[in-house]
Symmetry: C2
């Protein structure tokens, strides 16, 4: 595969960029009153407006051409059909099979994985009904009121984000999430809970994740302290894992082990048994609606021509800003308090997938890859970091996520929220030139000197791009569509950049070094040969501990 930067479409985009770089969005809108109709798409429950991007029809044509030259159609088919596209780990990538509602078999190593997928879904349904109905009881016969999911990374961020996002639909036990090895998180979580009515979900594919096992053992101790019976572990723990031996040794009934497969990556696992806390919170019917939303986006992604393909367009817009405009990050701005943790979820999805500097063939990329993702809900962010978005020196493309209706209407608060979302996207794009700033200041009765002095500070350069995604209200199906949209966007970018979006070798080295350092933190252990900083810090930890 030739480097993407050498492809004809990339070269054409380079030329095209030089033409467009000096054209303000303002004038693109002024020149074409139909620009919005040209660059917005309805897909299932989403309205995707990408007209406030620094593009023309020619840009979109070149996006599609680049996707073609990168053999994207074949890559999409390869993913959906179970090819081992996670080449460095020799695995298929089949989170789409987890939400495949069709009769289509998905074959890995000659076997259809769908019966297994359906079996685990049924197991989740059966179990969640038992817990939610009160049929499942704790050691003392009490029904479960609280569920604590212990997992980290993909075993935490996905279910946590979804449970928070769909809190409106929650009618089961309250879900809590413990991920950090920092004992503060577990302590704070357990403080309000009763052992009699608490169920722990231990989510670790290998059942060896250091943080998760440490927290799981501490939670088990909390249960044993309460009941003084190892049998109680069976009533208060279930596992999401593939390591039966370790699960049984921990004290969990293997009946209550929920399996998944090596073709489910951690950051794509909320659709699998890792989503059990979701099913317990909102019920299996809502969980299936979430899967259904993702499946709708899967079909769209697989079938829509690139010009009308939401994930493909979003991906190429990201490439456009990353590799041509030099943007180093993008902001996700949900005007939806329920999506407060969506940016944190996307940080893993995007940065762990495409934060790579080596191509699939092992060569250095030689161009920028995955950006930093960040964001907070609007309108909060407006009072925090939007200053930089509007008047800073950096280009930060933004995604605005906007529900048209509130699930908790109070007065006109939701309308104020929506008005702010639309206004921010407008302000970023339009800016305010000197003449406008001057006109604005004229009404304020300042001296001429004062006015002149303030004008540059009240000027906004504008020309800052954004996508707006509207939906009626946040339902399980809408959330499924949104998540799958970003999943596929990240996939497409990975293919353009020719990195393996499905491995994460970058997490290994730190883990390994931590194992060396851990014993050295104790005063009587020899310190191995580190750099003087690491050695100095270890010694400081020892000294401060002593004090």
């Amino acid at each position: 595969m030739p480097k993407p930067t050498t492809l004809p479409a990339w070269q054409a985009l380079q030329d095209h960029y030089r033409e467009l770089a000096q054209v303000p969005l303002r004038s693109l809108f002024a020149d074409d009153p139909d620009r919005f109709s040209l660059f917005n798409l309805h897909q299932d429950d989403l309205l995707f407006d990408f007209s406030k991007n620094r593009i023309t029809s020619r840009t979109v044509d070149l996006f599609a051409q680049l996707a073609d030259e990168c053999t994207l159609s074949e890559d999409i088919e390869a993913m959906f059909s179970g090819a081992r596209i996670n080449a460095t780990e020799g695995r298929a990538v089949l989170h789409t099979a987890l939400r495949n509602e069709s009769d289509r078999p998905v074959v890995v190593d000659g076997a259809d994985v769908m019966p297994d997928v359906r079996r685990v879904l049924d197991q989740m349904e059966d179990f969640s009904q038992k817990v939610r109905s009160g049929e499942w009881v704790g050691h003392t016969g009490e029904p479960i009121t609280d569920v604590v999911n212990i997992g980290i990374g993909g075993s935490d961020l996905g279910p946590l984000m979804v449970v928070q996002a769909l809190d409106h639909y929650a009618d089961g036990p309250k879900a809590h999430f413990v991920s950090n090895v920092d004992p503060t998180q577990l302590s704070q979580t357990l403080r309000g809970l009763s052992p009699e009515t608490t169920l722990f979900i231990i989510a670790s594919k290998t059942f060896t994740t250091q943080e998760t096992l440490a927290n799981a053992k501490a939670a088990r101790q909390w249960i044993l302290d309460a009941f003084d019976s190892f049998e109680a572990v069976k009533n208060h723990f279930v596992a999401l894992s593939t390591n039966r031996t370790q699960v049984v040794e921990f004290g969990i009934d293997p009946e209550n082990m929920f399996a998944f497969w090596d073709w489910v990556g951690g950051r794509y696992s909320l659709w699998s048994a890792i989503g059990l806390s979701i099913a317990l919170s909102i019920g299996m019917e809502n969980f299936r609606a979430l899967l259904g939303g993702a499946y709708a986006m899967d079909k769209h992604f697989r079938n829509a021509p690139f010009h009308q393909n939401l994930p493909v367009l979003m991906a190429l817009l990201g490439v456009w800003y990353t590799n041509f405009f030099g943007a180093a990050s993008y902001a996700v701005l949900p005007y939806d308090q329920y999506l407060a943790r969506f940016p944190a979820f996307l940080q893993q999805l995007d940065m762990e997938s495409n934060g790579k500097r080596v191509r699939l063939d092992g060569r250095q990329v030689g161009y920028e890859t995955g950006p930093v993702v960040w964001g907070e809900p609007g309108t909060n962010g407006q009072h925090a970091f939007y200053q930089l978005l509007h008047q800073g020196t950096r280009l930060v493309p933004c995604d605005f996520l906007v529900p048209v209706q509130s699930l908790n209407p109070i007065g006109d608060q939701h309308e104020i929220l929506v008005a702010n979302a639309l206004a921010q996207a407008e302000a970023l794009m339009m800016g305010r030139n000197e003449a406008e700033a001057l006109a604005e200041l004229k009404g304020e009765g300042l001296s001429e000197t004062e006015t002149e002095r303030l004008v540059p500070h009240k000027t906004f350069p504008g020309n800052r791009p954004s996508n707006s995604i509207l939906y009626k209200r946040l339902t399980p199906a809408v959330l499924g569509q949104l998540i799958a949209l970003y999943e596929h966007k990240v996939f497409v970018q990975g293919r353009i950049w020719q990195v393996n979006s499905f491995d994460q070798w970058g997490v290994e080295l730190g883990k390994k070094l931590a194992k060396v350092i851990l014993p050295e933190l104790e005063n009587d252990q020899p310190i191995s040969s580190h750099d003087s900083s690491t050695t100095g810090l270890i010694q400081a930890v020892r000294q401060i501990s002593e004090k």
Copy 2:
């Protein structure tokens, strides 16, 4: 003032950068076994290790020279002594007066502000004691169990972050925070509360902030629905504001209005009456310890030579990476679950202060200013976005915040946490070269082809800089030191970049446009002349609302 880029020290740094750009940190450590002692500082309760930065002693000399050439000493004195350094708004910048424990007067317009500062602190002490002791009661005579702070931006992020961070010391009513105009946040917060035992703090300097007033009115309605007596408002609402007329009109007893001053910027206001929710949660003694910590850092910042000045060094390291190495963001990585919202707090502090493109004199900067700030607690981040930090194409300098001891020890979990923090900083700096990756793989019994294929993916470039800040444990005083450290760092960077770090004109335009759009969201209102995207989105909102 000449542009910073034209100063001799900047020019010298440019030459120096060209020399250093090719020198790996690894070899700097190898060449000097004393590097750690050279580049770490103890200050009050903090150990600041900056040896894992791409610097030599010459770099630090040039940092100090640049600070001198930027007349930083005079600027520091100007801030502390109440000069109107917020020039575009004609205001002094005196958050340091709020924690001035000395007898030194701080004079603004010929009057010492300290008596006023002390008076409000005493008022806070008196009030918080009353509420905490149960002397203050709600409309039905019940003591207060829950406090809801309604504010946004600086009236939210600071107190929220501190209350979460100091949860270990919380022994007063439980503090909640509502900021977003999205009615979901208020609804979710009130769901678990009783009107009889809930006290609302309305935090808005002007008492006109749209989001805050909308939420305050909805909260008042909740109280009125419960008691059907306007008098109840007096028992359940207090105000942090300067607008007495509006406060009284709202129904709040002016006795329960806590004042602050125009020389307290929103993002520097947690030290003022805006911190009332903190005092209610942890008590005034702890609140004063927080102020004391900040005061200790203030003295250090004001008096220490630049070579040993933590905020100055941190600031110039940031300038070094921003303007010479081209870093676009930095990550704050607290290995301390209590500091989960510290990065969100810093987003406002830093990005609202220095996300500017116009110098104090009104000219365009012509160089990069404030970076994007982001981060999540370790070890969570390790399983999310660290992949990009280690193996991505972007340079992201990191700050590691590391408490040596846990406030909630469980087994060796805290030691695992600390080991991970130190190991990540080591891994980022050292990396793993091809020979090391090869040696690593040799033990795994792979074929030669397989090994060769994997080596590039298992290689880490290293040479990625970080600061490590160690403290024994998170106390109010330590937190005060940490916050003030970042405050002053941001101040120094603003002076180097010659922007006004204390205004925020960039938040105005969006607010103004939102007021235009709000009525247009209703179906029978005419839509004014927007771009076709904004018009299209308004029409879409109307149509979707109808469905």
